[in-house]
Structure formats: C-alpha cells, structure tokens
Amino acid sequence: MTKLTVEDLKRIKGEAQRTVLLREGTARAKVTVFMGTCGITAGAREIMDEVLQLIMQHHLDDVIATSSGCAGLCSKEPMMAVEYRFSPPVKYIDLTREKVREIFESHVLKGEPVPEYALGVGSETMG
C-alpha cells in the first residue's frame, strides 16, 4: 500500500464513517419496517430490501433502517414508520415497492410526509 497523506486520511475517514454510522446513533431519519409474522407474510422483506437499496442508491450516510415486531394492525401490513429528525414518526400502511420509493423521495429525503399512504402520526419515538 502506498503512503498516506493527510488528505488520504480524511478521505478514508469519510468512507469508513458510512459503515460505522449505525454505531453512533445520530441520523437524519430512521425507517422502521414492521417485521412480525404478519408483516413478513404480507411482504415486509421486500419492503426492507427496497429501503436498504434506496439508501445505497442515494449514497446516504445518515439514514438508519431498522426492524420492529408486529404493530398490532396485521390487516394493514406491510407497514413501516418514518421518523424524520425532530418530527413525530409517521406510520405508512399497505406498502408496495412503488409506494416505498415515493415515501422515500419525499419524507426521508425532504422531510415531507406523504399523507395518502399514512395511517397516523405518533407512538414510535427516536431511540
């Protein structure tokens, strides 16, 4: 390996920071996919997949994706909650890959919720 300069060091820091972000607990937004048995049967895995891909596509280093259990509204699965910094979480229901993309573009990236897919606001808090 070639010798580092101070600039190289800062570049490596930038790259490595992406992978350790999860351990710092600070983020612009947190996306929680509900993955109870009901959620998984209704296709929550696809939803999680889509969220993780979107994070990669947009080269985001400050968005956290995480999973949670059954939210108690099994008939509305798959569901996810988006929590934008300093705003209450919004629960989205009956999701598909397309809906996830729309929500991601608007709520996760710009902080603007998408009311037509939302169930309600509140109850989940940023950890």
């Binding site: 070639t2 010798k3 350790v20 999860l22 509900f34 109870g36 891909q53 985001l60």
Partner: protein, 597 residues
Amino acid sequence: MKAQRTHILVCTGTGCVSAGAFDIMETFQKEIEKHGLQEEIDVVPTGCNGFCENGPLVLFEPEGIFYQRLKVQDVPFLVEEHCLKGRPVPTLMYTPHRKKTPIPAMKDIEFFKYQKLVALRNRGRINPEKIEDYIAFDGYLGLAKSLTEMSPEQIIEQIRISGLRGRGGAGFPTARKWQVCKEQPNSPKYLICNADEGDPGAFMDRSVLEADPHAVIEGMAIGAKAIGAEKGFVYVRMEYPLAVERMKKAIKQAEDMGLLGDDILGSGFNFKLSVAIGAGAFVCGEESALIRSIEGQVGRPRQRPPFPAQKGLWGKPTNINNVETWVNVPQIIRKGGAWFASVGTEGSKGTKIFSLVGKINNTGLVEVPMGITVREIVFGIGEGILGGKKFKAVQTGGPSGGCLPESMLDLPIDYDSLASVGSMMGSGGLIVMDEDTCMVDVARYFTNFLAGESCGKCFTCRKGLERMLEILTNICNGKGKEGDVELLEELAIMVKDTSMCGLGQTAANPTLSTIRYFRDEYDAHIKEKRCPAGFCKELITYSILEDKCIGCGACKRVCPTDSISGEKKQTHVIDTKTCIKCGACVEACKFDAINVV
C-alpha cells in the same frame, strides 16, 4: 451491495473470550447467513465492554439493545426473533439485582449510566483489528494535526493546559515529564508505553490494548513528535496474549498505511514502534526495572536520579508513560487541552479507569470523571454489596494501596485526596470488601504478595516485608502478642522510608491503613483471640444452633471429615476436635443454623 441496517457488536475482550465469545460470534454469522441476512447485518468483534461479569456480551446497534450471558444455543432464537422479526428478546437482557424487569438499552443500565468514556471511548464500538474503524471515529486526526500544524512546544503546551497526570499511579504531570526529556541534549531519545500491569484484580491496561490499540500508537507518535524521539516500545507482559497479538497487528497496519515508519503522512517525521514482551514480574512495572528488562537484563530497579528522562534506555533520554496516559493524548490534541481539563477536580483533570472488583454486585471496568465519590462508584455503578451484606472497606490502588473504611465513602477520588488519607490512586484497582472480610487477613494477603514480588535489592524491603508478614501471619493464627501492632508500625515506616523504588515505598500501605482504620480488629485478634469477621480459621469455632437446626442432615452429608453427628429430625452436633472449618456445612444449611464465632 446493500446498506446495512444492523450491526451486532460482539465483545471479544479476554473476559468474554474465555466465556466463549468467539463461538458466539461464529454462530451469529452462521445463523445470519442461514436467513440470508448477511448483506444487511454485520457481525463485528470489539474490545472489552467492561461489564465482564455478565459476559459473553453482545450489543445490537442502532437500537442499542444489550444482551448478556449468552450461550451458543441462545443465538439461533435471538437471530430469528430480533433480526428477522424485529422482536427484542427480554429473557436475554440484563436484569438488575433484586429487580424483575429487564433493561433493554445499554445506556439505561446503572453500570453504564454514570460512566464517562474518554480513554475507553472506542470500547465496544470499533473492531480493534481494523484500522479503518479507528479512522472512522476520528482516529489519527490528532497525529495529522500535530505533524502538520503544531510545533513540539505547542503540543506540550496543550498537554500542560489539559492537566493530564500520569495514569500509572504516581500522578506526575505529563507535560513536565515530556519537557524534561525534550530538553536533553543527547540523542537518540526513546519512548516507552508501560503496559506491565501486575496488580491482582486490575485489567485496565490489557483492556485498552485489546479494545483500541491504535489509540496507543497515535498517542505515542504524537509524544514522539513533541519530545523528538524516533523509536518507541510497548512493554507488555507475556500473559496478555490477546493484547500482544492485537498490538502487533495494529503496528503492522499503521506501518502499511504510512502512519508509522519513515516520513509519516508526508511530513518528514519518522517514528518506529515495537512490542517488548516481559515475563510478568510485578517489579518490572517500576520504570527503571522495566527499562533494564527491555535491555535484556534482570528486571531490578536502580537508584534515581538520574531519571529515565535524563538517562534511560541504553543510557539515552527516555520518556515512559502508562497505557492510559498515552490513549488520552490524541483526543487532547484533537479537541484541545481545555476540553480535557473541563472534567475532573482542581488538581486531577479528566477521567480515570477503575477495575471494580470484590464483594460487589456489578464487577468490571469503569471509566469515571475524577472527583466522583467512593459511594457513587460502589452503590451507583456497582449497585451495592453482594448478597445485601454490609460494606466494610474499599482498597484503592492495587496491592500496595490502602483500605478506606465506611466513614470515607464520600471521599472524592483523585490523586491528592487519596494520598491524604493514606492510600493512593495507583493504577486504579478498587477492591470492595464486606463485613465477612477480616482486615488483618487482608493486610497479610497483600504483604505476602509484595514480599514475594520484592526484587530483594534493598534490605528493608526484602527483610522488612518478610518480618511484617511473619507478624501478620501470627496475629491471624491467634499467636499475636501485645506490642505486635507497634512493632508492625515501626517496621512499616522503616520499609517505606528506606526503600529505593515505588514497590518498597508503598508496600507498607495495606498494613498501615488497616491499623489506622481497623485497629479494633487487630486488638480483637491479639487480646481476645477472636476474629470479628469470622474468617481466621485458628480463631473461630463452628457450632450448630439448637433453635434453628431441623435435623435434615444436609450438613452431615457434605462434611468431608465426618465431624457432624445427629439423628434425623434431631439437633445435630459438630465435633470441634475433628472439624477443619472448611465451611461446607454453612453452604449446605438452608436454615442458617451453623454458627461461626
């Protein structure tokens, strides 16, 4: 590649490794692959988390959920529930003593709540074997700053402002030490990291080397620039194999990246570092003995001055600091001396790592701000005495520290207040003792350790400790005489005043402090031939309390010398002539019927 959603941080400090952490890690990886989650969930080995008693430990991020005492067979269920279905598993979480509800998040557990991590900031957070992890959390930026923007004088000035004092125990101001070495006209100059941790029950140096080896390297490289040294050694004992391995790996990675060696970061500055392995003699923690050991000679202290800063390794100016001192340096340079000095007390700045052990509910490694009280550590972080017993004393500073009684619980812990009550900071051992601990026996135990570790060069340390041990052993065996305590004091002060190195100079602390604060226990042993704690075998007898014994025979079955007799459902009796006072009956009896006086 997909973005990751969970990191599973598995503690792989020595404590958790011996509890099976590597098997746990492997099982996590297997289970995660089984469910096809390997791209979105990463399993990361980290250094010691500090809560060693409850190992193996695992932390799930970003939720911060803490699982403890894991077994390999718990892992498949945990992965299925937490990773696949998003349901944390309460049965594997930590439940505080005498409470019923488990605490999911690590930050809410008492043990972690009061800690302030500076030296241990990367513990349980980075993979110590991956330099990129260290860099991601601002690693080597302090070195970059000191090489490109700062003069040696400016570096030492920041260390002076920080108020950093030697964490090895003596508390000498680090900036002054560096300054003296820098001003020496001779060259080459050497740096040494003292990781020869020999105190029974202390493991902070090992833990730092295992959890964050790059911080040691960075601290030393900054010191090298300030002092003008080009070569350094990390002196570790052989019985720390994992620490040696991780340190060597880290040095190799830093060399490969050009963060050690010639022309570091293109600045023209050169610094080389290697690991020196010691055989594990307690006295080699003393700087002049340590230097001799690196030179390949028998590890024995020599007369100072000249100090190592003037004439050290191979007769050249040498600066030697403890592991914990070095790891504080990068952050002081990066964030400024004033940042560091904002924590702590007037004379002792920053934080200190303690290994909290003994008769306490939560044992482990804790880092706390200087000036915290003994009570906050013992009853806050430690959550009180084991089994709800009564607190008796706490010994600070390792084997040659002093024992402080209950009346000192509100003493703020810093260098000067500990010294003022006859103890010391030492390397930061905290041994908690309860009502069942005999203080004379404690003095005997530590004097025995120190007499064995004395190198024998000074007559007073060699023979004085031997005589003290003899007297203490006699007192414990019920052969103490009037005047023994006075003789002990006289000997102790002689050893303290006339020994050459730190070992002898502090070796009297356990005896002197127990006499000072627990004189009544000495008197009970000598005058009444009684051990108030019920510990010294020669002074106690076992008997069975008639009103409590139900005649179940449990004690009779476990007695190794058949000294207990009695019919079923009748009160049993102990034959004190054949009883060897092993305590097996006390453990077997469910009715507290065995009386020890």
